[in-house]
Amino acid sequence: MRTAGDLVARMQLTRGMRLKPAKAYVAEKLGVAVGDLSDPIVMHDVRAELGLGRIAVQELTYPDHPGAMEAKFRIAELLDVPINCVARFRERAGLPAT
């Protein structure tokens, strides 16, 4: 989560994408270069802007930013990938289907 590993991992796990196409796909969706995906300095800002969740570090906390389930809603939409817990949450919270 310091970079984009979890996002690339989702494309591998759910879509069976190999590493290179998975990185290219995620980079395109995030609007960054492939090389930026593993740069924690770049990804810190990108994850903040897109609401993809960040790691709190002592006094650097983000209680008013998307995290965990909230971030996964954003990730599912941005990457256009189904996330099971998001679908279950939406269904059980009575939220409208997308």
């Binding site: 979890d6 796990l13 090389g35 990730i75 189904p82 279950r88």
Partner: protein, 344 residues
């Protein structure tokens, strides 16, 4: 006189070898694998790169910038935090895991089936707390269905008695209950919000164990096409405990990593993890060369991600509960650099 380089053996103990000795071990490792599995040996450039890695005096090494791979962690955490949700949270945030796995200490689908409602609740709790994908994992563990742990005759006892047909029948009889238990757990985990399932040490009890796992994965993926299915093998060669079982026309006994991967792809596996056992009496360099030779055809032909099993006793990492980071980093880097893995 050649200088000695500090390196490690497959049991984790430090050793001193010259560059020439390391080079000889690399060559011997690849030749041993090539002979055993009837595969090509590694090329001079590949062996040269491995020699560079193992001749380094650095405490730690890593892949080049831009070559980073995904880190998936079966059995995430260390079961010593006292809170399973916190274990997953820590793995995500402090251990750098890109994908985590919720698991129970009785790591067997037969056992999990009896406590699945509790495990499903934990999965739901974890999904509320983490951002990275979280699978549920356990071992297929076909042996649990044999006596005295299960109802079916123990084929490991029947075989030495020469009762081969009975042993085969027993293994076949154990397949359906294992498949049913795996699917039952997967259904519960899907309802709980799991991103996927992991099947650890598939094939540990031989070809019947492997067949049950593949069959279960096919059923799960047919029912839940968006649910991930990660499968880690038990070893580099599927043991023919039965010897005649097939999955969709492919005999499972005697399969090496490339062929294991192909049946896994057919079954619907989305992440495949080949495993190569460590020889504890040989150097880590020897083990790396052997592992790469065995897995290279798998990586070259895979259409799904390959997350090689690289940990205690597999993937050239020393067989010790506390693998030294100098060995782990060298093995990891070597495997990623040469095999172009999709993850570890």
């Amino acid at each position: 006189m050649e200088a000695k380089i500090r390196t490690r053996m497959g049991d984790g103990w430090a050793a001193e070898m010259t560059a020439s000795e390391i080079k000889a071990d690399l060559e011997d490792g690849t030749q041993a694998a090539a002979k055993r599995a009837k595969l090509p040996v590694l090329g001079d450039d590949e062996l040269g790169h491995l020699l560079d890695i193992f001749s380094s005096r650095s405490r730690f090494t890593g892949v080049d910038v831009g070559d980073e791979v995904v880190l998936s962690c079966d059995g995430s955490g260390n079961a010593d935090i006292g809170d399973r949700v916190a274990e997953m949270f820590l793995s995500e945030r402090h251990h750098g895991a890109d994908m985590v796995e919720l698991w129970h200490i009785d790591y067997s689908y037969k056992a999990i089936k009896t406590i699945v409602t509790y495990e499903a609740q934990f999965m739901k709790n974890v999904q509320m707390a983490v951002t990275v994908p979280c699978n549920y994992g356990a071992m297929p563990d076909l042996g649990r269905y044999s006596q005295p742990d299960g109802p079916i005759a123990n084929w490991s006892e029947l075989m030495p008695q020469g009762r081969i047909e009975e042993a085969r029948a027993a293994q076949v009889a154990a397949i359906d209950p294992l498949v049913a238990d795996i699917v039952h757990v997967a259904e519960a985990m899907h309802q709980a919000g799991a991103d996927g399932m992991d099947f650890d040490t598939a094939g540990a009890a031989g070809d019947a164990d492997f067949l049950a796992t593949l069959t279960a994965i096919r059923r799960i993926r047919d029912k839940y096409p968006d649910m991930g299915a990660a499968m880690g093998m038990a070893g580099e060669l599927t043991l023919g405990m039965h010897g005649q079982l097939e999955f969709e026309g492919t005999r499972l006994a005697g399969l090496w990593p490339r062929e294991q991967m192909k049946v896994a792809e057919k079954a619907g596996v989305t992440i495949f993890g080949p495993a190569v056992h460590v020889n504890t009496t040989r150097s880590v360099a020897w083990n790396v060369a052997r592992a790469i030779t065995l897995v290279k055809p798998c990586c070259d032909e895979a259409t799904i991600p390959i997350h090689m099993n690289v940990g205690m006793g597999v993937g050239a990492v020393p067989m010790t509960p506390y693998p030294p980071v100098d060995a782990v980093s060298r093995a990891s880097r070597a495997l990623v650099d040469i095999l172009r893995l999709d993850g570890l």
